[in-house]
């Protein structure tokens, strides 16, 4: 296997008496969709927050393409190639869809201390933003305010914004949450098409999505990875069935 895009070793985080991350080892290979599953409260979102630098780890290391990320703030990690989507969508509501993407494109270009040129007349910036909207098939909604987008459209827009940062690794925190069956199916196809552009760490509760998309799956329970392997292996793992799969949707 080629060198991993993301290499996590011994990552630990405690909140008082609660161990949210317990010596987590995790690797995401280039071109891989690596799913992270686990019951509510297992520490999935805490792990994402540590990967993108929103909270610091107590112990352990995170490497992106061999580069250590310790101590880097979120904005610097984005510049290195980590992009994320949020479990609860977090977009700029006063801006249109294309403006949300264009802002990410502009930041990717370097600093934004250009104080005197009208950004809305920057045809090149808009064209590049529209290309990312095309990837998620939102071009016809480009000039709609985010506040007026449907939930499913906002989820797709978050994906387009993440792509605009030109990531090497995408952290997707429940991209299917709240989507209807048709929207979910469309999202699965969109994500499948993204595999060639970036490695993906996919946190998801929708098991149909996980089993149809993932190359490998890691199972997180009470802050520990209890198993990692192919879909088939995870599905048959007795410990996983016990801890997780058996509980809810059988």
């Amino acid at each position: 296997m080629s060198a991993p895009v993301l290499q996590v070793r011994g990552l630990s985080k405690r909140f008082g008496g609660l161990t949210a991350s317990d010596a987590i080892d995790l690797a995401v290979a280039p071109g891989e969709i690596h799913a992270l599953i686990g019951p509510n409260g297992a520490g999935k979102t805490t792990l994402i927050a540590q990967l993108c630098g929103e909270i610091s780890q107590d112990a352990g290391t995170i490497h992106l393409d061999g580069e250590p990320l310790a101590g880097l703030p979120p904005a610097s990690r984005t510049a290195l190639g980590i992009a994320r989507t949020f479990q609860i969508t977090d977009l700029l509501p006063d801006f249109t869809a294309v403006e949300n993407v264009a802002l990410a494109v502009q930041i990717r270009d370097g600093h934004s201390f250009r104080l005197f040129r009208d950004v809305r007349r920057d045809a090149d910036l808009r064209a590049r933003a529209l290309a990312h909207l095309a990837t998620v098939e939102l071009v016809d909604r480009a000039d709609i305010l985010v506040a007026s987008l449907s939930h499913g459209e906002a989820k797709l827009l978050e994906l387009a914004v993440a792509l605009a940062t030109d990531p090497r690794l995408l952290l997707l925190d429940e991209p299917m949450a709240g989507l209807g069956p048709t929207e979910s199916a469309a999202m699965i196809e969109t994500l499948r098409a993204l595999k060639s552009r970036a490695a993906i760490l996919l946190v998801e509760h929708d098991m149909d999505a996980v089993f149809s998309l993932a190359d490998r799956v890691s199972v997180l329970v009470y802050g520990r990875i209890i198993a990692t392997g192919t879909v088939a292996r995870i599905r048959d793992d007795p410990a996983v069935r016990d801890a997780y799969l058996g509980e809810g949707d059988g």
Binding site: A75, D90, L92, L103, I107, L115, F116
Partner: protein, 323 residues
């Protein structure tokens, strides 16, 4: 469409430029002075609005930058007339082409310093810490007896500028009108630039902006500094208009007045703060003549504007215009 807007702006500027003659003709010469003050406060409020309305930084200390701009002009004049350099280093001057840039630089530097510390916080803490810094500067100038202390600093003669007589009310008015137009133009460019988009993004969601790779603090600080410079420009003009700089200009109530102007006119809009400043000055001068409790009436009007106009006077005017 763009041409139509350019014509409206040109017509508006022409009408405003004609104001001193109109005021004479209708026998209300005091109107010119009133409008001068409104323009100056408009510059200060529009600058505050860059931080407050566009960047979402609720600064309760912008009077400090306004006052520092005024004192910069005053102190430079004091050293010009005494002949002794400031701190033995900086010679005084009464030339407007030097004093106004100096006022902007000094207040900008102070805004950068205060901003650098205050912008480590957000929300209520930010409001309180900007207020605290401004009050510290207020007390500093109150105790600065070399420059008039509590009584303020009298500037005997207005600055020199291209041989114009700045004591003439009309000339001063036109000068302030030119500066106000320039301020609006610069702000218009800034809020529509990449930088403007970045700070407007920060107002809406800091978390989102970090996630797409923006370091919030740097951009907020730059916007806060620009905003302080604009307030300093207004202060420098006010010192020339009043020929006086006083600690009152830095008092927290003045910060509050600037905020009221922004809210009255329209938060996060270009022209709103100017409308707010005009309305504030008009209300102040018409109400203060009738009752000393005029702030009560002002408060009620502010309440009505906030509750009913959905976006201040600017929104109200736009809605009436469409009808």
């Amino acid at each position: 469409m763009r041409d139509a807007r350019a014509w409206v702006i040109a017509a508006l500027l022409a009408a405003l430029a004609a104001l001193p003659w109109i005021a004479e003709t209708i026998g209300q010469p005091a109107l010119t002075g009133m409008m001068t003050r409104a323009l100056i406060y408009g510059i200060a409020a529009a600058s505050l609005n860059l931080a407050l309305g566009y960047g979402g930084m609720v600064s309760f200390g912008h009077a400090a930058f306004f006052g520092i701009g005024a004192y910069t002009v005053g102190i430079l004049y004091a050293h010009h007339s005494s002949g002794e350099p400031f701190l033995g280093l900086v010679p005084g001057t009464d030339r407007l082409v030097l004093t106004i840039p100096a006022a902007m630089l000094v207040s900008g530097a102070m805004a950068a310093l205060i901003g650098a510390l205050s912008l480590r916080t957000s929300g209520v803490q930010f409001i309180m810490i900007t207020l605290a810094f401004a009050q510290m500067l207020f007390f500093l100038f109150v105790s600065l007896s070399a420059y008039g202390g509590d009584d303020g600093l009298i500037i005997r003669r207005a600055n020199e500028f291209m041989g114009l007589n700045l004591r003439d009310k009309a000339v001063m008015y036109w000068l302030c009108l030119a500066f106000a137009a320039a301020t609006l133009f610069v702000l218009h460019r800034v809020v529509n630039s990449r930088f403007g988009m970045a700070i407007a993004g920060l107002r809406q969601s800091e978390r989102r902006m970090r996630a797409i790779g923006l370091h919030p603090w740097r951009y907020r600080l730059a916007a806060f500094t620009l905003s302080g410079m604009g307030a300093g420009l207004a202060g420098g003009l006010m010192a020339n208009y009043l020929r006086f700089a006083s600690p009152d200009m830095l008092h927290w109530t003045k910060s509050g007045e600037l905020m009221i102007m922004v809210i009255l006119g329209g938060v996060g809009t270009l022209i709103g703060p100017f409308l707010g400043a005009f309305a504030f000055i008009a209300l102040e001068s018409s109400l203060a003549a009738r009752t000393e409790h005029w702030p009560l009436v002002l408060g009620l009007i502010l309440l009505l504007v906030v509750l009913w106009t959905r976006g201040g006077l600017r929104a109200l005017i736009l809605r009436l215009g469409r009808r």
